[in-house]
Symmetry: C2
Subunit: 429 residues, 2 copies
Amino acid sequence: MNRITAREASERVGKPVRLAGWAHRVRQLGGVTFIVLRDRSGMIQCVAEGIDEACELTPESVIAIEGKAVAEPRAAGGVEVHVRALSVLAQAPAMLPFEVNKKAIEAGFDLQLDERVLSLRHPRNMAIFKVQAALADGFRRALRVRGFTEVHTPKLVATGTEGGAEMFPVQYFGRQAYLAQSPQFYKQMLVLAGFERVFEIGPVFRAESHNTSRHVNEFTSLDLELGFIESEEDIMALEEDLLGEMMTYVVETCREELALLGAALPAVGEVPRISVPEAIKILKESYDWEAPAGEINPEGERLLGDYVKKRFGSDFVFLTHYPADKRPAYTMPHPEDPTLTKSFDLLFRGLEITTGGQRIHDYDRLVASFRRAGYDPDAFASYLNAFRFGAPPHGGLAIGLERLTARLLNLNNVREAILFPRDKDRLTP
Amino acid sequence: MNRITAREASERVGKPVRLAGWAHRVRQLGGVTFIVLRDRSGMIQCVAEGIDEACELTPESVIAIEGKAVAEPRAAGGVEVHVRALSVLAQAPAMLPFEVNKKAIEAGFDLQLDERVLSLRHPRNMAIFKVQAALADGFRRALRVRGFTEVHTPKLVATGTEGGAEMFPVQYFGRQAYLAQSPQFYKQMLVLAGFERVFEIGPVFRAESHNTSRHVNEFTSLDLELGFIESEEDIMALEEDLLGEMMTYVVETCREELALLGAALPAVGEVPRISVPEAIKILKESYDWEAPAGEINPEGERLLGDYVKKRFGSDFVFLTHYPADKRPAYTMPHPEDPTLTKSFDLLFRGLEITTGGQRIHDYDRLVASFRRAGYDPDAFASYLNAFRFGAPPHGGLAIGLERLTARLLNLNNVREAILFPRDKDRLTP
């Protein structure tokens, strides 16, 4: 008889079952042990009477059970397992750093991260990462049907996308390399190489020393790049469709996880577009909020999220026309006002989750833009040279997977959406 | 009228079409220009008569075409496009470092890698990466239906899986970090955290200084880890099914790419198992080949690949029972002979493409094994501690995606299956 999951067992009333998992909850009651067994599928109550191995069982021990599934209206899910045999594969200590069978873990967040293997066992935490996997998979599915190829580009690089600031140096056979801040150059080069449409889901590294609830130093980027566009509008339209399909996929595949997390996913219709100059005016007029140095910082983004929610009923807003001096040198200037660019951010409930735009595809123009930004084109030769051999108009975007997850599920800290977060103070576990 | 691909155009005989792509081949013939347009879907012949823009067209220029699809038995695919309008979006120089419209690129491999954006345009190279994407996706699909969760684990780590040798050091906010050699510790910890079944597709980094056709310093690892196994046999059985499903998926989704590459995919049935001691005996008896220091090196693996092909008609062989002193400290010793382990490699046509096995899941035993191997358990505390809270029996494996791709497609060098390879001498592009 093969092992089945708790969920499968709940559909086999009257049949013998074999299960394995963790003892989520253990209660001794007059010679009978009530065990809630937890596995990757969920939980099921198991009742052990006259089973010696059950008497000393501690919560979080690993157990294997043989028994019979029986209808029991008082049990959660309406089914329980009458245990015939139980073996303890690994006994957990009587004292744990914290309990994972309460509604929430009662321990500081740092301790929860220190003991990540334990805190992840809490069903809410498990659910976060099931939703996250579905988001990434939804991204992938939506792009694959549109002819995108999934690629893997190097994380060890010779120069940075934006010139080496905020990069981690790596000792590479006696020379200095860096960890890639983004696959930006490589995804563009692959469009030029004829793939036309590529995407990558992979780690990016930022040596930013600020340590906020929104920032970590390693995260997962959902990157895409697309050739033969008319303008950055094509990228924004693609993102609208993409996010819509991702939400639908998550709703379809993570119904229980969303219910457990009490999360309602947003509808993604046509997302309002507001240019940065316009947004600065709106913030001044509606909130008496002054953009410091003409920049919409996180506080401005929060207010803007509030504004579009009230004004358009939208959880999303595209901020467009970013000033050229705030965007990387490869960003396409706006034809009507070259101090602005054909780039955008997407804010979701007042938090930036995407940066994107059209790129410069003409070699001479690109080299001039790098020079103007103060970069030595020779240091970027392997990227710039690619534009000599026929480059189509193109653009793309990047979505921070953990930020998107956290915002979607109303988590307070992006670290809650990272299995093993990395920041200035945390390199373990 | 929307743009369509070359493939779509070939199915629209008699209809107007709008295309964009690269001028793969350009031929002037008595006032008529014959252009083979190449895009992400394939190629189509376009005929431009009396179109000024076509007269000076160079190969590899980026073009947009409007015209009409017309049946033409003499054209490849039986359809050509009669061009009504042509615009050159980017003109390629008359002299390219090498041509990409011949059967093979006539240039040294190093130059092809230096000019990767150009060499990737060759249809054979494009096909390699379409097959590679399908392999990774087939892996993912096969695991998802088996209840595996896709995860993302940190690439910045404090200590190495095997003790810090052959790792790249990273400067991390004034302290030393390393690049992960493998997600080994993390995938095990996630099994323990209750995910039970996890997989990851991501980069791994090896600071090995040898520079062979099989080795690079950054590659993509297909990793999985599985809880509640009986033995390493469960992992091997899973890999048989997995590889079978991956091959089927590639055949179904990459028919044209496989034809272009002249690759026949292997049948994956029951894979023969040979223990390392047995294999050493076979190599001695059948090939008079002596294993240096009791180890089956790449030459031994090649001979063994030959042996199982002749003896069992199999392209694959599991080498089992690796000596304990050749495997990491977390490897489960063999109960019948503790100098051997419950671990395996999978050889494919004589090349190692997988390492896997059962791991030690008992805390005390694991700590003792780390000590015996000469490691300080304190340095691995965040990994080892996880085993105190109830760890199920588990095991897993890792497949090198690029090696698998290269072997499957009979490529001479693993670098042909990497978009932008990294080795001791190459950090760009």
